[in-house]
Amino acid sequence: MAMKDFTNASDVCWQDVELGAVVTTPGSASVRRTGDWRTERPILDKEKCIKCGLCWLHCPDAAITPLDDGYFEPDLFHCKGCGICAAICPKKAITMLEEVEQ
């Protein structure tokens, strides 16, 4: 009955909607792909990156993931391409690359 059984809103029929459209699974927003309206993607140049983490700190959508080796990687499932990471990077290690039709 609850929407929690679905990861994709397009699979939900009206009968599946929980009373009042209440969402009973905390954190379920993370399963939703919000990266699909991006027009530019951030590209990291590891040669220039000093692992300062400012991109991770400033990302408004928590879409920069810290890696074990100390670098930071954009999470393209959620990244909306706002470019804040590129703008904040003190070493200009992130460039925004236009998304093109595959």
Binding site: C13, W14, V22, V23
Partner: protein, 400 residues
């Protein structure tokens, strides 16, 4: 034992809210609703009612506060009128979309401008499509009964919709009449203990009022639409139980002297009492006239209405609101729409009157019935006829 008391309708509503043992009241005083929150604040202050009373700074906040209370499963009540209902408007939709069983008494009042504190139905008509269950009262007893009924029905797991109890400002809200108050024990039996399955609580986190993208919004709204229409059996059950326990019967559509009637005068709200008196007079004069009261405005009782008007030739409908530039009074145009596909349907003659507290007396009802019968025979190209308008000749109306 029930007891016979004399109360103002506003105080009868407050008494019902107290007997329903609400957990939270949030309200902003506005004429002509003021006596309801005043009395409830007194009850809380005196320790007669164990509830939180939130004296909010506006009606928008009143509705927002009861939304919060309802989200944690508290039995919640608010009340407003006219401009107040308009100010809380966006939050009114949230209550029904979240499926919170909030009860709100609305003392119907005309809308500005010009500023009017007096009764008409323009405030409630702007809430027609808010997905609240909406009922109208004719007298003080009904104001009490509909309020306890509202808690009983709203909180039913098969309903879970908020309910507006409409009582005409001043002409009902400020009228003092005798009524019967039931035993507290009976009210406790009538309104079962409320347990909200999805109440916000740390041990079972949930999100209320989430974002709805285009691929889900339609399904959510249709689920709400189907649920509101499916609430009808419980709405009726609430009245049947009331009849069994308290001996007073109510129906979605009520007719008075409807048997064999060729003409029915249709009203919603307290003017029905005047209309019934005129029906008595007309019957004595040998005219086949009856009265039809729309108690349940939403979800609209289509089948009951069509049944009630079978064999009737003319419906004389009084609207207390203007649908500016629209198809006539809101009630008359809905009734027309309800009968559009029905064969041998009655002719609907729409009148608009009683705006901003203008009195509609027995003589006016008698005129409307006579004029309605005349138009039913002669035909008319008017959408409706406004009544008692200075400068407008009697028998002329508004064309589309």
């Amino acid at each position: 034992m029930s007891k016979r008391v004399v109360l103002e309708a506003s105080h009868a509503v407050a008494e019902a809210v107290k007997m329903a043992d609400v957990d939270l009241i949030a309200a902003y005083p506005i004429t002509p609703q003021t006596h309801i929150p005043e009395r409830l604040a007194e009850m809380v202050a005196d320790g007669d009612l164990d509830a939180a009373y939130v004296p909010v700074e506006s009606e928008h906040s009143a509705m927002s506060a009861v939304l919060g209370a309802a989200a944690v499963g508290a039995r919640s009540f608010t009340t407003t009128a006219g401009q107040g209902l308009e100010l809380m408007h966006e939050a009114v939709y949230v209550a029904s979309s979240h499926r919170y069983p909030i009860v709100m008494a609305v003392c119907n009042r005309a809308l500005s401008s010009p500023i009017s504190i007096w009764c008409d139905h323009s405030d409630i008509m702007s809430c027609r499509d808010t997905s609240w269950i909406q009922v109208f009262c004719l007298n003080n007893q009904e104001s009490f009964d509909m309020t306890i009924w509202a808690f009983r029905v709203a909180e039913d797991p098969d309903v879970m919709f908020p309910i507006m109890v409409n009582l005409d400002g001043f002409t009902l809200s400020h009228v003092t009449e005798p009524l019967e108050l039931p035993d507290q024990a009976d009210v406790d039996k009538y309104i079962p203990k409320y347990n909200y399955r999805l109440a916000l609580k740390p041990e079972a986190p949930s999100s209320h009022g989430c974002f709805g993208l285009p691929e889900i919004y339609t399904e959510v709204k249709l689920a709400q639409e189907f649920a509101l229409r499916a609430s009808r059996p419980i709405i009726d059950k609430g009245w049947e139980e009331m009849s069994a326990m308290f001996g007073r019967s109510y129906k979605a559509i009520e007719t008075y002297k409807g048997e064999g009637a060729k003409t029915l005068v249709v009203t919603m709200g307290s003017l029905g009492e005047t209309a019934k008196m005129v029906v008595d007079q007309k019957r004595e004069q040998g005219e086949a006239v009856g009265h039809l009261n729309i108690r349940l405005w939403r979800p609209f009782p289509f089948a009951d209405f069509r049944d009630a008007v079978k064999g009737v030739e003319t419906l004389v409908v009084l609207d207390r609101a203007i649908s500016f530039g629209g198809p006539g009074g809101p009630v008359a145009s809905e009734l027309r729409s309800a009968l559009y596909d029905v064969e041998n349907k009655p002719k609907i003659v729409g009148f608009i009157g009683g705006l901003g507290g203008r009195e509609i007396d027995a003589e006016t009802f008698a005129y409307m019935i006579d004029r309605g019968n005349e138009i039913a025979k002669s035909g008319s190209d008017y959408l409706y006829e406004p009544i008692l308008v200075r400068g407008l000749d009697t028998g002329t109306g508004v064309r589309g």
